[in-house]
Amino acid sequence: MAEERELQQSEQQAGPNGSDAGRFMLGMENVSVRYGAVAALEHASLGIREGEVVAVMGPNGAGKSTVLKAIMGLAPVAEGQVYWRDAPLTTATHEIVKHGIAFVPQGRRLFTHLTIEENLEMGCPYLRDKTERRRRMDTVMELFPILHDKRKDLASQMSGGQQQMLALGRGLMANPEVLLLDEPTLGLAPNIVASVFFNVSRISEELGTMIMVVEHNIKGVLDIVDRCYILDTGRVVFEGTPDDVRSTHILTEVFLGKVQPMDGEEE
């Protein structure tokens, strides 16, 4: 099993233009992020291909969220590079969304003193064309009718699940090619978690958006993704399809520690 992991690792270290299954649209190569002395991400290379839904998983402090922050220019990237369509992505944070990369931050982080409609509009504040904005808003509201019903309410008055829909909708307002979701189910009740995952897969199917989702709820997310990465202490330790994950013990190993002593096996 350890060999298998090695193999997966070496395969994905081929870089953004990795061989067989097509190249990464959005990817990072050899990226390290350090906060002072603490390394949040070390030599991580991963990415997302055309039309994919990708999950980034791992235990607390593994650097999952840092992956997304590094892409959005919110984390101090010490080395390595983020790529978007073969070109390095180096623009300022507020410009990145114009490239078609939208970010839905952890904990929703809505503008709580703005109405739902205004929150959606803030998904594309740079857009001058009002008809286009209207059109996008209609698309989002079609996807989440509840937002239309409550559009004059303040964002803070909604329930957690609705807030998550609004956060997704705000991201979609940028008409993104890639949607980055940071822990979309965090702090939500179990029955709402399922609907969030359902919404994510709907976005992927109906709008054809590429999605990279960072998630701690592994069982739920495995059902909706095409591929997943597992991080541990800042390193990518596994890459593969959900079936690969289910067929190995990688999860219990990373999350619950080694169930049986495997020291001999590793050496």
Partner: protein
């Protein structure tokens, strides 16, 4: 040592150092603002260096023009008139274009640019001619110049100091102490340049008393109230209805996320600083016409504003209005029939009571 004659007439202060400083500030602000606006749009076509050069040149010209305005305040209507006309023209043209685009829904049609441009040009020229004809309009133009200058100084402080401080500051106290430093320096500089004695501003319209309900009220006071309400309505409109206002509120809610969704937070905050400083200048001018101006008039007013916002609920615009109004009433009438000299004490006692027992204010943010 220093007499009225030395510093010039009663109203016009001619100090080359002051003029140069204001000119420099304006030059810097114009250059920075132009750069922020033009660089992302032009960087495909021109090199960074040439954009910087052009922008720098524009800044220098703006600074020189400001200096010229300040050196010849008597001819303000001649010097400032064309610019005011130009501004009116551009505003008219933009507004018309917006309307035409909406009607014809074709953005780049020649009609949508040409018609508004011609109309705007005509209106602007008319405005310029109208102003240039009337020397007495110099006073009101000087209001505009003062507000613009104050805005530029505010913007310069933001760009030159606050941006740097914000990146380094580890606590809000650093900003506060730096503000105190600026306050000390500016109020003392004003004292040196303009002397510390209160001086009245020249009479504006409606300075004469009007009989109203048995008491004498200056007509100008009505104007002041009107301007305040108009300013408040304008702010409200800006914050609630425009895309810029939504950006401002979004930044107030969550600055990091605002960046992520694509708001250029630096520029938006800079504009807020500009507007804030210009508004403060207008308030100073109005109260100066009412009573008199003096170097230290600002601090207490500022603190009162702070109290009003605490009483009303921090971060709530309606709350600030309500708080300001309530505070004014309490101060003026004195709830316990106290004499007027205790009004500052009343304000601050109210503040401490509110902070102790009702820290969210009357209208808390939801």
């Amino acid at each position: 040592m220093r007499h009225q004659e030395v510093v010039g007439g009663h109203y016009e202060v001619q100090n080359p150092v002051v003029n140069i400083v204001f000119g420099l500030v304006v030059a810097g602000v114009v250059a920075w603002a132009l750069f922020e606006i033009l660089y992302p749009r032009l960087r495909g076509r021109f090199s960074r260096r040439s954009i910087q050069g052009a922008v720098g040149l524009a800044g220098i010209l703006a600074g020189l023009y400001t200096g010229l305005l300040l050196v010849y305040p008597d001819n303000l209507h001649l010097l400032f008139g064309p610019v005011a006309g130009l501004a009116v023209g551009v505003a008219v043209a933009l507004a018309l274009r917006e309307g035409l685009v909406r009607v014809t829904s074709s953005e780049d049609g020649p009609m949508a640019t040409l018609v508004p441009a011609i109309i705007g040009l005509a209106v602007g020229a008319g405005a310029a001619a109208y102003i240039a004809d009337r020397p007495e309009s110099g006073l009101y133009l000087s209001w505009a110049v003062s507000c613009l200058l104050a805005g530029c100084v505010g913007l310069g402080l933001y760009r030159g100091l606050y941006v740097t401080l914000r990146n380094r500051a580890r606590s809000p106290l650093i900003m506060l102490v730096a503000s105190m430093g600026i306050l000390l320096a500016i109020s003392a500089t004003i004292t040196i340049v303009f002397e510390s004695a209160p001086r009245p501003l020249p009479p504006a319209f409606g300075s004469g008393p009007i009989e109203f309900g048995g008491g004498n009220i200056k007509g100008f006071n009505f104007f002041t109230v009107g301007v305040s309400l108009a300013g408040f309505a304008g702010l409200l409109w800006l914050l609630q209805r425009t895309s810029f206002g939504r950006s401002v509120r979004a930044i107030g809610d969550d600055e990091d996320v605002s960046k992520v969704v694509g708001i250029n937070t630096t520029v938006v905050i800079a504009i807020v600083f500009f507007i804030g400083a210009a508004f403060a200048a207008m308030a100073g001018i109005l109260s100066g016409h009412d009573t008199a101006i003096q170097p230290r008039m600002g601090l207490l007013l500022l603190l009162k504003g702070w109290i009003a916002s605490v009483v009303g609920g921090i971060g709530n615009l309606y709350g600030a209005l309500l708080g300001g109004f309530a505070l004014g009433m309490v101060e003026q009438f004195g709830i316990w029939d106290l004499a007027g000299e205790w009004k500052d004490v009343i304000s601050f006692v109210v503040l401490i009571l509110f902070l102790s027992f009702w820290p969210k204010g009357v209208l808390p943010r939801k």
